[in-house]
Amino acid sequence: MTILKTEKLKKSFGGVHVARDIDFTLEKGEMHCLIGPNGAGKSSFFRLILGEHRPDGGKILFMDEDITDARSFARIRKGISVKFQVPGIFKALSVHQNLTIAFQNHLHGHDLEATIARVLDFVSLADVATEPAGALSHGQQQWLEIGMAVGVEPKLLLLDEPTAGMSPDETHKTGEMLHELNAQGITILAVEHDMAFVEQIASRVTVLHFGAIFAQGTVSDIIAHQGVAEIYLGGGHGG
């Protein structure tokens, strides 16, 4: 079953095309990675899905429902969660407050507290629950935001470079977290640079280049793809 679909999605800023007729399909249960050189349009594609940018043309369908004109918050309520590249957390508020704000739309009272406890455990932040989020290490901040994104069991989780700035250990642990979430039925779409991480998590990979889909396939397909290596000079096969 298709969870997310874009049809001929177009967007340009002052003549620069960040999305050229993108036809993209994401199946339920996938762990899909978006890769591509800098400026390929990965982040813009996310922003279009989230409604932060309005497309110039084309459609976005979530669970077969047209959400092209829905406002951002309405898309989130339909079951899309997001973790930004720069940790999108409330730094002045405590870890516990961050999670409360993330979940209170869906949960109340006991269920809320139980979920917070479960998520704190899942992202290994139970010991620092009362600390201000801004005082956490960079990796912990990333995990907090993943926790905020998944506590309400979204149908689709969007991750923009979830491991940026993490140590190899933290990166690996993040990969395990994502596998666990995927096993619980959450479909994952991630923008990622670290090819080792892509290999660890992705079931399918899409390569964007100049705002268009350049190639699509399994991780090994993509690594073997001659053209991908060419456009990706320098950003190549990590590890």
């Binding site: 989230l50 932060e52 406002r71 951002s72 918050f73 309405a74 989130i76 309520r77 997001v82 930004f84 999108g88 957390i89 409330f90 730094k91 002045a92 508020l93 405590s94 516990h96 407050q97 409360t100 704000i101 993330a102 209170q104 739309n105 009272g109 905020m148």
Partner: protein, 369 residues
Amino acid sequence: MTDISHEKSLVDSAPIARRSRARRWLSHLEGPQTFGSGIAFWTIFVLVVAAACAYPFFADGWTVGNAAYFLVWTFMAMGLSVIWGYAGALSFGQTAFFGLAGYAYGVLTINVGETYGFTFIALVIAVALAGVFAAVLGYFMFYGRIRGVFIGIVTLSVTLVFETFMAQTAGPQWAIGSARLNGFNGMTGMPPLTVPWFGGDIALWPDRPLYYVLLALTVIVYLGLRMLLNSRFGNVLVAIRENPERAEMLGYDIRLYQLLAFVVGGALAGLSGVLYTAWGQYITPNSMGLTAAALPVVWVAVGGRRDITATLIGTLLVLSLFQTLTIYGSQYALVAMGALLVLIVLLAPEGIVLGFANLVDRLTKRRGA
């Protein structure tokens, strides 16, 4: 968290549900969004309220009426704290709602009179009017997605235009029913708040009875706002202040939340406006001018806009300082207010009361640890 009521009930479930709901609201009296918790805080709170109740027995009527005058302003200040401190939207025009509600109270009571408790009905209508006006103005601002700076100047423009408009209503053609608006000199002759009572209404002149009514209102509004700010609603407001994009990406319609905060703040400013008008039986366009609009900003900034308790204490402190300085002339007092505002912004942007409270908190915690 303190346990305000902790007994387990064994009776049928409907009252339990109701009680647990009430308990949940009571539990919101404390929380991450408001300073003060635990036995010590609430003991001090009760002592302060008790002292405020006992105060009229040790002071003459005029002084008590003057204390009532201070309390009149606390609602506008607390409302501004909700909008500016919690929701993060600069509103420089709270006096627009203050003036609108004040004039509305005057027009209503001059036309209808004070019998059968109508003054209180007029109070409710006038406050509702301020709330509705805030909703309309807020709709255009927040749903138009204008940025922080612009919210400040649009609201300030609104109050200044109100002032200009009311100032030119001197002619006899400017009357609503039998209420003359009276231009720059302002409207007079409306009755004070009047309680219907057996054997004759009781008019609340600026004296002990009015003081007690205002004290009760202050306590109710303060506790009510504490509960509101620690509720889901308050959580979202703070989230929007800290990071609006993120709040939206957690599924909140931030426009709606900011609008609601703006309406709460506008209605509270309206409440102050009604009480001010009823207190002195007059209101003038000056109360909506640039200087009048600046004062709530000073009170809230000095106390600490991000906390309702700090705002309340700061407002009362600054008001008494202002009155002390007025002895030398109101222009000197206003220069001092301006200087205070500049210094606070430069040196203690958190606010004096909140900064001090946080310091005490940190010191006691360190000792405890």
